[in-house]
Subunit: 412 residues, 2 copies
């Protein structure tokens, strides 16, 4: 199969000043493999006529399909349309239907039509308009002599919407090979252990298997290419079954699943409710637990007891804190019991530790004590690892969710 | 002043697959203006010998200074050094000092020296080695015929460290003009109002003034260029005083300040403590309040009462909830009072609303009621705005911090 060569041009001076990070390019890049498109170049260019036109000429010459984002606004700085017309030697004219559409857009919002917005109704002979229901800048699908330029607006909400509605279906229609992928997310196993257990599965190239260490555990990615999505999925399916047979309960989710959503599902399956008392994570654990839609069915709340007195006021025995210290297994366990009792939950989780850069009670920065209990059975985990305050909070959230998951999976 | 033209090359196949977002380019881009460097091109290239060499040749020819990141590892895929040598027609040799350094690095970690890592000790006649204390891949400063290539490793922690220690000082030494900037962050005023109040200040070009609407309010950015940093700051200072005179208390911070840090400072200045009861934000408000180092001096905790019964258990009168509804001003105010009472704080904040996509109690998704009280004085704000669950939580956190700030600024 001869590969189709793709290129991305991100257009706009804000990107070049580092004021915004170009997330559009990463979005488009992640979508291309499924259509069998091989991305060869990503270029950012500022709103400069000569350089933009040169970049478009180069892309037109060296790539089969080029995706541009940005530079479609109504101002003098927005040069994408002009430069494509110049690069292809074509003349822009106002498209009557597009002009009517733009005027209607402004009329509907009871705003006067600014004449400079007429630029946005311009077309060239090789372009087909891509509607933009989220803004005033339509895109273009430009095609001539076997080369394509797909022209999209810069604001990510407009771009991704146009991608899903216009670009994705068109690329799917043209694709001669597609690639699909499934990610299986695990926790509790090291990268080496996962490698080893996968054994000979490794030697397969279609589907291909990749193993990646991520913040929320080790991910196993299966990808397959074929002439159709159905055929590609048919290659993935038996491989996925083999991986599941080997890794079993270590797999907590797939693709876009989050640990928090996995914990919420386990709670729902078992008909249990959860309450938390957290200090070092400062609410970040509750924040993660409330991200999945429908979390309120199973998550009652969290007592963010940043001050020691707050812990005691809410049910941690003063004795425990004074005898064992705030940063201790005993306090974490007492917090788990107090959260459970105070909020009337089936399961309680307690977390105490040090997110700051200084030692507390002789323990190093990044120390975390985490306990979970259902009143009779209690699990506990602790560690010390420091790479800054933000990272300490994030890591503790991941560890707490992992501990919860393991606790809920163990049959009572 | 003739401008020095800069270019960035981000090297690596992971970037091209959309698996990682290229944050290095945005980091470097944001640093260049202060040295008077004008960034003209940012290009991402995969680990492909022909394309990488072509990209380097093009950069060498069209730009005065090029920054590369990535492709410095020990494997066959890491081609940056080879391609620079080829593009410049120079021959690589092993640098004895660098080899000794690498061998020592491995010996110190009691690991055998892998012979393939010798690649990392290679140099060319035009290169000077940039040490990398955080990894095994040293950088290069390549200079010939008035052109420069600065070669840095891909991992952001290694790259930014090398930037601060090696690249920043060298660029500062060579800069013939520098640009410095100060951002003043405001809240409570619209972009139009800020524009209007700044009046004729606008016409200044050095310092230049920019006004930007951001999630945490309107930012006013002052930037000035001069021969030295001192001279540039001397241009900024009177302009900053003028802006401060005009916008006054609407300014809550500068540069990297966050709203949460501003609130913590105000609490500290006034010798007050804060407690929160939040539901729709699910702990995200507490998470933000505990991000600044030292938050524990003033922030006692948050009661994340996701379930209605949890609100009542922790001090919200059942009457209020049943009469006015959970999503109401009365409940938000009762939550503020309950937080204050339960945790023994001077100031209490209550937040209730709808982060999910469905209506609750006849109110639309995104509805938020926020109240703050010191026991005698109570402020309240509400709004309804929905762009998804995550965005609803983030926006409510910003609104709550703004309300707190306004409350604390009003003299009691």
């Amino acid at each position: 199969v001869s590969r189709v060569h793709a290129e991305i041009l991100s257009i706009g001076t804000e990107i070049m000043l580092g004021e915004i990070t170009d997330t559009n390019a990463a979005f488009i890049a992640s979508k291309l493999p499924q259509f069998g498109l091989e991305l060869r170049y990503v270029t950012q260019v500022s709103d400069d006529r000569a350089r933009l036109q040169a970049a478009i000429e180069l892309a037109w010459q060296r790539s089969d399909i080029t995706f541009t984002t940005g530079g479609l606004g109504p101002t003098e700085d927005d040069l994408t349309r002009d430069c494509i017309a110049a690069a292809l030697g074509e003349t822009m004219t106002i498209d009557a239907a597009e002009e009517a559409h733009l005027r209607a857009w402004f009329a509907q919002r009871t705003r006067d039509f600014p004449e400079r917005n007429l630029r946005q109704a311009m077309v060239i002979p090789s372009s087909r308009v891509l509607p933009n229901p989220r803004g005033t800048a339509p895109g273009w699908w430009v095609e001539r002599d076997g080369h394509v330029i797909v022209v999209m607006p810069g604001p990510p909400a407009e771009m991704t919407h146009m991608w899903e509605r216009e670009v994705d279906p068109e690329l799917a229609r043209r694709a001669t090979s597609v690639l699909v992928a499934r990610t299986l997310k695990t926790s509790g196993l090291g990268e080496g252990t996962v490698d080893e257990r996968l054994g000979t599965l490794w030697q397969s190239t279609n589907p291909a298997i990749g193993v990646y260490a991520r913040r929320d555990g080790v991910h196993v990615r299966l990808s397959a290419s074929a002439a159709t999505r159905e055929e590609a999925w048919a290659l993935i399916q038996p491989a996925e079954e083999q991986v599941r047979a080997v890794l079993g309960a270590a797999i907590w989710g797939v693709d876009d699943d989050t640990l928090a959503a996995g914990v919420a599902s386990l709670l729902r399956e078992r008909g249990l409710t959860l309450a938390v008392m957290e200090s070092a994570t400062g609410g970040a654990l509750a924040d993660a637990l409330t991200d999945p839609e429908g979390a309120s069915d199973v998550f009652l709340g969290s007592l963010v007891t940043y001050a020691t007195q707050a812990k005691i006021d809410l049910g941690v025995p003063g004795d425990v804190v004074y005898t064992h210290g705030v940063i201790s297994q005993a306090t974490a366990e007492a917090m788990a019991h107090a959260a459970r009792a105070r909020l009337g939950a089936d399961v309680g989780l307690g977390l105490t530790g040090i997110a700051g850069a200084s030692e507390v009670e002789g323990q190093p920065p990044g120390t975390m004590h985490i306990a979970v209990t259902d009143g009779t059975r209690t699990d506990y985990r602790h560690y010390a690892y420091y790479q800054g305050r933000e990272a300490a909070k994030r890591r503790a959230v991941t560890e707490a969710l992992n501990l919860l998951r393991a606790f809920l999976q163990t049959a009572p």
